[in-house]
Each structure stands twice: as C-alpha cells, then as structure tokens.
C-alpha cells in the first residue's frame, strides 16, 4: 500500500459522501418546504378550473384571440396569457391585434370589464360569461 494512500482515500471518500448526502438532504428539505408553503406557484390548477367551460365549448382546432386587462408587459400578464395558452391547447391563443380576426376571443379579466365597450372596440359579441373574469366573445361579421 502506498504511504498515506489510505488516509487520502478515506478523505476523498468522506468528502464525496458527506457532500453528496448533505446535498441530497438539503434538496429534499427545500422541496418539502415548497410542497408545504407554496405549491402550484403559478396557480395552474385554479386557471384550469376557471377556463374549463371555455375548453369545453371551443373546438380543438380553434384559433382564439386574447383580451385582458393585465398588460403583457407585466409579469402577471405573461403568466395569465401563457397559463391560458397551456390550458386551452391544442387550441391556439393569440394576442388580439387589428390585423388578426379570429372567430373566437377569450376575455381574461381581473376587474369587471365594460362589455359594451369591448364589443364596440373590438368588433366582437359576448357569447357567454363563465364567471371569475372569464368571457367568451365571437367576432361579429
């Protein structure tokens, strides 16, 4: 046996073992805290429940316009849009722009919207209000 070899081998073994086990335990503790304190950070389950009616009503191959009172420039606006896109998929959700005229338009609002003004402004007609800020509009001819 090489001189000092055993001591060095045990040191390397101990370093890897302690760091590996400690790393695993820290990771486990971190995930336990997430599960306990902040599960479903982006409230996807809640959005699935909010948008369930729209999912049922729209055909799977629909392209759906998107209107919201939370601007996309804000982080919240992005979360609302992308979660709605995920829940509605395989339907395609697109931001409402003048050059785009999808038949269906999803209204995803935090505050009670002025429906009449939206209908006039965007050339759409309310098909159904699903409650909790979710509205489905249809483009007027």
């Amino acid at each position: 046996m090489r001189q000092g070899g055993q001591w060095r081998a045990w040191t390397a073994l101990a370093a890897a073992s302690l760091a590996g086990l400690a790393g695993a335990v820290f990771y486990w503790a971190h995930t336990s805290r997430i599960l306990r304190e902040e599960p479903d950070a982006y409230k996807i389950a809640e959005q699935q429940a909010r948008l369930a009616g729209v999912v049922e009503m729209l055909p799977a191959d629909a392209t759906v316009g998107y209107l919201s009172d939370v601007p996309f420039g804000k982080a919240d606006g992005q979360v609302y849009f992308f979660v709605a896109q995920y829940v509605l998929a395989p339907r395609l959700l697109v931001e409402k722009k003048p050059e785009r005229r999808p038949r269906w338009v999803l209204g995803n609002f935090l505050k009670r919207p002025d429906i009449e003004q939206i209908e006039k402004e965007h050339g759409v007609k309310l098909v159904r209000s699903f409650g909790r800020g979710v509205y489905l509009f249809e483009r007027t001819p």
Partner: protein, 489 residues
C-alpha cells in the same frame, strides 16, 4: 397512467437494441456494461421514438394505433433478431476484458454504493415533493415544452400550432425531442396526464446517473463512477431541474452519452469503434433534436473528436472514424433541418444575431451583467458553499490528485475541449440574448464530472502498489473461461 405504456415500450425497445449491439462489451466489468446499456437504451429509445413520431405527425399518420403498431413492430423485430442471434450462436461467450483492463476493486466500494443509493432515495423523494407541488412543471414547461406537446398530441392538424408563426413568444422553432416524446405518449393515452412529462424527466435523470457511473467504471474504475454519482447529488440546481420538466436534463444526458461513447471508442478494439462512434454521433444528433444549444454541441463535439483523434491517432484513422460519428448525427440533424424549414425563426439568439452579440460585447455593463450572472449562478449551484460540487471536487482533487493514463488522454482532451467550447459559446450568445446560466451549468454538469473523474486518480490506485495499477491501453478481450471465473472467486 395509459400514457406510461408508450414510454415503457420506447425505453424497452432502446434497451433491447443496446443489448443486441453491446457497444461496450469487453471494455470493463459486466455490471458496468449492463448499466451503461440500460442508461443508453432508455435515452436512445426515447430519442428514436420522438423522431419517428415527428415523421408520423408531419405525414399525417400519427394516431394512437399507428404509434402502438410502430412500437410493437420495432419490439417484434428486435426480439426476432435477438432469438435469431441466440439460436445462431447458442454457446457464444460474452467477451470479458483482459486481465490488464480489470481494475482490482476498491475494498470499500460497497460503502460508496450504499451511500449513493441512500442519497438517490432521498433525492427521489424530493422529486416526488417537487412533482406534487408543481405537477405541470415550471415556467418554460407550460409556456414552451408541454404546451407544444399538447399541440402535437391534438387531433387533426393542430400539430401545426406547435410551429405556427402566431406562436410569437413560445419559440416555434425550438427542437421537438422532449415535446414530441411527451405528445406521443399523450396521443396514445388520449389525455394530457401530467404523469407523462414527470416520468420522462425522471427517466432522463436516472439514465444520466447510470451512464455517468457506468461510463466511468468502464473507463477508469468503479470507485470513480460511484464518487461521480455522489458528486451529482451536490448539484442543487441540477437536482431541481428534472421536475421543472425543461429540456436541459435530456440535453445534459445526450451531451454525456455522446462524449462517454466517444471516450469508450478510444479504449475499445478497432472493430467496435465504428459502432461506438455511430452511437456517439446519434447521441449528439439527439442533443440537436432536443434544444438549439444541442446544435452548438454537435458542431463542437464533432470538431473536438476529430481534432483529438487526429492528434493522438493520425489523420487517416481520424477521418475514417469522424465519418462514423457524422453518420450517427445525421438522423437528428436532418430532422432539425426539416423543422427549421417548417417553422419561423424565433430563437432569441438567432434573432439578436451577430449584431446583437457584437453590441452586447461592446457594452461594459452587458459584459459585467453576464459575468455577474455566471458568478451568481455558479455560487447557487450548490445549496451551501460547504456542499457545493466544486468544494467536494477540490477536496477530492487535493487528496486523489490528477493522473491521466496515456490511453485516456484523447477522451479527456475531447471532453474538456467540448465542455470549454460549448460553455464559451453560451457566454458569447449571452452577450446578445439572455443568461440562464443555472440551466447552462446543469446541461454541462454531468459531462464536466465525467471529464474531471477521468482525470482524477481512482481510489484503487491509491491503495495498490504502483506496479499493480492497471494499464488502460486496449488489449484483446478474452472469452470467459471456467478457470478464470474460479480464479476470480
């Protein structure tokens, strides 16, 4: 749970294929060969089935029935070949490594194995927590990867939504290995059960660990593989990634598999080199089919392999072998090319272009921003400084010390150059786009560990007289004999 059936058939097909090909037979101990085949089979099966699904989808023939039929036909064909080979060579002996290649096992490897399994069990329970807390994964999972899987799994022509120019903020030109594979399972199941992306992520994490431990056991020693496995458990950011359900862990897997197979090719007998290199190329092609960073890796890895082989073996062998590597890359690269033709350019790096990168490089605040992001994400990679992977590696480097046998030098040079150049590429593009270095580090972490543990002296060599240290140069594999088995016992 129905979605797990196509996941299992894909993994099974890959494992049977690798078992038939036996790329590492005769290179090292049998358990490591089997573990490597298992680890590679799982990821290669997923890659192949994802590619086939894309072809079926684009040709309008992707239905639950055709997917299951394809899997069934593939498994039946592989089983037929298996039985044919067994009947043809009933007494065929499994090649075992020559004496010189067999590392006398470190007496306390069982301690390392027990600790690795214990740490793995704790980590798996942590992943269960993470999956329970966020079953849909984190931001990019539901904003990019899984939403595109839903498009691909939808009825009729909805797959086109995954590459639609209207998909402005969801990168319709990103490669589809992960989304395609998850979509394939959802298509068969007829729902969007979260168990599929969760199980896929878990499979890639475990396969990466298996390939790392097995490849090091074959190339260096069992203790090196086990120490590397334990070091994986120190990477807090890396451990958090699988259940985010992003493409970074599959990408890390294919990076590692490509370099591990190329490294094994330098150790293997000449007749086995083409197979190993073809598979290494296939892994690099799968990396390109996983994420745009994989395209950079495929190019860098191809060049690094060719250069290292030229340096250590000469021009003609390097050219011949590099062609095998390139041939393996073709399926993945052809599909990526096809996808890029179908989808609009949406990658932030491509859109920023050379001009964006040049502007970023010219701005000192941008350079500082990138360096700060590197430092911060590197620091956060371990949960605490004391349990940081670099701290553990520093202690191991100080005690074990670096000692690279001649036969492993091409592998170490190729691997280190690939890690360095790919990371350099990430730094450069980060000057023009964004800087998720935590994920970049995770992509390179297993490959980095492979390179470091290739260069570190194994525990076995510390405890054995210098003369007894094994030569790692390839010798002719010997057939297993009764005498040899009894002498080992």
């Amino acid at each position: 749970m129905l979605g797990l059936i196509p996941l299992l058939t894909a993994c099974l097909a890959g494992c049977v294929l690798l078992r038939l090909l036996r790329p590492a037979a005769g290179v090292g101990p049998g358990w490591a060969t089997s573990l490597l085949e298992l680890g590679l089979g799982v990821g290669f099966g997923i890659g192949l089935s994802s590619m086939l699904f894309f072809v079926l989808t684009v040709t309008g023939t992707a239905t639950a029935a055709t997917i299951l039929l394809t899997d069934g036909a593939m498994l039946a064909a592989l089983a037929a070949v298996w039985f044919y080979l067994r009947r043809r060579r009933p007494g065929a002996a499994v090649p075992v490594p020559a004496e010189g290649l067999v590392q006398p096992a470190y007496r306390y490897n069982w301690i390392l194995a027990a600790l690795l399994i214990s740490a793995l069990i704790i980590v798996l329970d942590g992943m269960r927590n993470q999956a329970a807390a966020d079953p849909h994964g984190m931001w990019d999972a539901w904003a990019i990867w899984n939403v595109r899987a839903r498009f691909l799994a939808g009825p009729g022509e909805t797959w086109r939504n995954a590459i639609s120019p209207l998909l402005e903020r969801t990168h319709p030109d990103y490669p589809l290995l992960l989304s395609g594979f998850v979509a394939r399972c959802w298509k068969v199941a007829g729902d969007y059960a979260t168990i599929v992306p969760i199980a896929t992520a878990l499979v890639f994490f475990l396969a990466t660990l298996a390939v790392l431990v097995a490849a090091l056991a074959l190339l260096r020693s069992a203790s090196s593989g086990l120490l590397a496995g334990l070091t994986v458990m120190t990477g807090f950011t890396y451990l958090s990634q699988p259940m985010w359900q992003y493409s970074d862990i599959p990408l890390a897997y294919y990076y590692l598999a490509a370099v591990a197979l190329a490294s094994l090719s330098w150790k293997a007998e000449e007749p086995r080199k083409p197979l190993l290199l073809f598979l290494a190329g296939y892994a690099a092609g799968c990396a390109a089919w996983t994420k745009n960073e994989g395209l950079l890796f495929a190019a860098v890895f191809g060049c690094c392999y060719a250069a290292a082989d030229w340096l250590f073996s000469g021009f003609n062998p390097a050219l011949r072998r590099s062609l095998w590597l390139a041939a393996g890359m073709l399926p993945g690269l052809v599909l990526v090319g096809w996808l890029k033709m179908l989808a609009p350019v949406a990658d932030p790096v491509v859109r920023a272009g050379k001009k964006g990168i040049a502007q970023g490089a010219a701005q000192s605040w941008r350079r500082q921003f990138v360096w700060r992001a590197i430092a911060r994400n590197a620091g956060e990679f371990g949960y605490t400084p004391a349990t940081h992977p670099l701290a553990a590696l520093a202690i191991m480097a100080a005690t074990l010390r670096f000692s690279l046998p001649r036969a492993l030098r091409p592998a170490a040079v190729c691997g280190a150059a690939a890690v360095g150049l790919v990371f350099g590429g990430y730094v450069v593009v980060s000057l023009g786009a964004f800087t998720p270095f935590g994920r970049f580090f995770s992509q390179l972490f297993p490959l980095f560990l492979l390179v470091v543990f290739l260069a570190l002296r194994p525990l076995e060599e510390l405890l054995e007289p210098a003369g007894a240290a094994p030569a790692t140069a390839p010798d002719a594999p010997k057939k297993r004999t009764k005498k040899k088995r009894s002498s080992r016992a």
